[in-house]
């Protein structure tokens, strides 16, 4: 057995399950959902087992796919953290969402590809598996419904092409595109910009409505939600690996500043869209992009606290991405509590911890960065307001698909709530090691061990305060089950803020489409006329063409 083959185990479990499900399904044995769900949890367990058993990084060197593109897998603290980001929501969704056996198999295979993208040791291997996961998801999305794939596909392929270009450029300049082997000087600003473009497009980190939000426009959520859950973390994985390739920093502080501003903008824009959402679904659609903005800001800070906050935020967002599509669409007061406490992020939820740690990281750096932290806090406030308004919004039915799963939503909500109390454990066991893998972490910069999170700027007594709050939260949780549903308005209440720029992209697109070549020049730009001339093969035309080219090449 080649060394490091155990790395492929989680993906093999999922891939094997997909094949078994398809063969069994073809033979009339409908065991798709339970088998795939079990395989997802098994893959999660095996990932943890391999990581904790190895007590260090493990590598698997495969064959050379292409010049500069060797198939390599690497399990270290970073890939472990991001592997969890992919597997945890996928396991929840595959367990609690209803799928046919064909869809279950495809979903398992997609999860395996996405997992391999986060376990990949080099940019080109990541691009291969990332592209594969995106393709598999496209097939499932289009097989279900055409809607919202018009944005998804170009964004993903654009990001993928940018990543491929970055990979080959890195390989040309340094002779390798393996994250841990790239010389520090090879990661230039230009190459990093390509990686950043891939990350922003792939994870939907844009100030306007990204594909992660548009997935919620689909009549059924079971494919779109999986797409968000498994593809969203990969962009951030690239940004973290860029730190490793750059020797603990990005090529220029301006790049950090630019992405930090972009992160704050993304968070603010998502919050602005959330508070103006016409339906509750439209509000939920902005939750993951909003957290994505926080994560981008945190990563761009480039400090140990920042990167730790970033990893924590992505981990939290990935669980949230599983919770939201599982929420039953009711008007229960308990749902209001979930919208405000879990989605917007109030103590002791992990969504609160992630946002708080990001703002703290900004304040800790000081100067202009702190103002970005304050901007993120304002986005947080807007999300709170949107959460309060969301309970009044009309519920958008889920087409043919039955409403979410109370059990699944309960489990995911429990994980998020408990995550706040266990934040110390998550940070000290998952996030800080991932940070230490890519940049130096001075001792004590993030203290508190498993009980609390202590940074220079602030603290969160995870166990000491979070645990009692968690116990107290049982009271409203029990009370909420008997309470009457809140009255939902027939039409949505007016938004708190009307952003003047929301319709700009559409207007720009319309203007662009309205552009016309002036009549007197139209024949010059008429491809059909040019083709007809080519097809007729007039000797004079070709003679002129040849003469023109002959003159051109001899100038």
């Amino acid at each position: 057995m080649p060394p490091g083959l155990q790395l492929a185990l989680p993906a093999l479990v999922l891939g094997g399950a997909a094949l078994v499900v398809w063969f069994a399904g073809a033979g009339g044995l409908r065991i798709g959902r339970p088998l795939v769900a079990a395989s997802a949890w098994l893959a999660l367990a095996s990932l943890c087992l391999v990581w904790f058993a190895a007590r260090g990084s493990v590598e698997l060197a495969g064959p050379q796919l292409l010049p500069g593109a060797r198939f390599t897998l690497r399990l270290d603290a970073v890939s472990f953290a991001f592997g969890l980001c992919v597997l945890l929501p996928a396991a929840l969704l595959l367990t609690f969402q209803r799928r046919g056996w064909r869809e279950s198999g495809a979903a398992a295979l997609t999860t395996a590809a996405a997992l391999l993208a986060t376990l990949a040791g080099g940019i080109l291997t990541t691009s291969l598996f990332w592209g594969t996961a995106a393709t598999l998801l496209l097939v499932q999305l289009r097989a279900d419904h055409e809607r919202a794939t018009e944005v998804y596909w170009p964004a993903l392929v654009g990001g993928w092409l940018a990543l491929v270009w970055a990979g080959v450029a890195l390989d040309i300049t340094s002779g390798t595109a393996v994250y841990t082997a790239v010389p520090v000087t090879a990661m230039t600003s230009a190459i990093f910009l390509l990686v950043a473009a891939a990350a922003l497009l792939g994870s939907g980190l844009l100030p306007w409505r990204p594909w992660t939000s548009e997935m919620w426009d689909r009549p059924r959520l079971y494919v779109g939600s999986l797409a968000v859950a498994v593809l969203f973390p990969i962009g951030f994985y690239l940004l973290v690996r860029a730190y490793a390739a750059g020797g603990g920093r990005w090529p220029s502080p301006w790049l950090n500043a630019t992405l930090a501003v972009a992160g704050a903008l993304v968070a603010l824009a998502a919050a602005a869209r959330a508070q103006a959402a016409p339906t509750r679904r439209a509000f939920l659609a902005e939750a993951v992009p909003g957290l994505g903005g926080f994560a981008l800001l945190a990563f761009a800070l480039g400090t140990p606290t920042g990167i730790t906050a970033g990893v924590l935020t992505v981990l939290t967002a990935s669980v949230l991405a599983a919770l939201l599509p599982l929420l039953p669409e009711t008007g229960s007061p308990l749902l209001a509590a979930i919208l405000v406490v879990l989605v917007a992020g109030a103590p002791p939820a992990a969504t609160f911890g992630a946002r708080a740690l990001t703002v703290e990281a900004g304040i800790e750096v000081g100067d202009g960065w702190a103002f970005l932290g304050v901007a993120a806090a304002l986005a947080w406030l807007l999300t709170f307001a949107g959460g309060a308004r969301a309970l009044r919004l009309p519920v958008r039915g889920r087409g043919g698909e039955p409403g979410g799963s109370a059990a699944g939503a309960g489990l995911a909500a429990g994980i998020l709530l408990a995550g706040g109390a266990g934040l110390g454990v998550v940070i000290s066991r998952i996030c800080v090691p991932a940070t230490a893998e890519v940049i130096g972490v001075p001792p004590g910069s993030i203290g508190g061990g498993s009980a609390a999170v202590l940074t220079t700027a602030g603290a969160w007594a995870a166990v000491a305060l979070g645990l009692p709050l968690l116990l107290l939260a049982v009271v409203p949780a029990l009370a909420g089950r008997r309470a009457p549903a809140a009255g939902v308005a027939a039409d949505s209440p007016p938004p708190l803020l009307t952003a003047p720029w929301t319709d700009r992209p559409a207007r720009f697109g319309r203007r662009l489409a309205a552009l016309r070549v002036p009549d007197e020049y139209r024949s010059l730009f008429n491809p059909r006329a040019i083709e007809a001339a080519m097809g007729r093969g007039q000797p004079l035309l070709w003679a002129l063409l040849l003469i023109a080219l002959a003159v051109a090449v001899n100038r």
């Binding site: 007039q538 000797p539 070709w542």
Partner: protein
């Protein structure tokens, strides 16, 4: 010798002109035949090539006589542009072959090859008659063979033989269009 060379070039040009100016089997066949004779004559110092290409050209011309409209069809109404093309290509080929190109082979062969290529291509690109298109391709193939012969590469005999064979095969192809069947 020079007179013979000039005469050969003129005969080849006449062949090309007949090819360009004729819309029926006899004119086209005469064009191919004259061009083949002229070409063979200019290749007198490479007898095997001259023989192969000359005979192939004459064979192709003879085969062309078997189908297509049974008349000369030379200089039909509206041929002035074609006439102009013949004159211009003749002059240009003579100028380029004699004073611009330094090879391959002697100037008369170069001129004849250029005439074959230029007039054959011009006819092929402008005609809608199958027999004329086939004859033009034949002429270009003969020119290719001649160029290979004078270029004097190691594989020249093979190429000349291939060109001669191709010319005959092109002659074998019928002039009647066959309509499509199936998908």
């Amino acid at each position: 010798m020079t007179v013979l060379a000039i005469a050969a070039v003129v005969i080849a040009w006449l062949g090309g002109a007949f090819l360009v100016l004729s819309d029926a089997r006899r004119g086209v066949a005469l064009g191919v035949a004259l061009y083949a004779i002229g070409l063979a004559a200019t290749l007198y110092n490479i007898p095997p090539a001259a023989l192969a290409l000359g005979l192939a050209g004459l064979g192709a011309a003879a085969l062309r006589l078997r189908d297509g409209p049974p008349r000369w069809g030379t200089l039909p109404p509206g041929s002035t542009p074609r006439l102009l093309l013949c004159v211009v290509s003749g002059v240009l080929a003579a100028f380029a072959g004699a004073s611009i190109l330094a090879g391959p082979g002697p100037a008369p062969v170069r001129i004849v090859i250029l005439l074959g290529g230029a007039m054959g291509a011009a006819r092929l690109l402008s005609t809608l008659r199958r027999e004329a298109a086939l004859a033009s391709t034949t002429v270009m193939t003969l020119a290719l063979g001649a160029a290979a012969a004078v270029a004097g590469d190691r594989a020249a005999p093979t190429v000349v033989a291939a060109a001669a064979l191709a010319a005959v095969l092109l002659g074998v192809l019928p002039a009647a269009e066959t309509k499509a069947r199936g998908a």
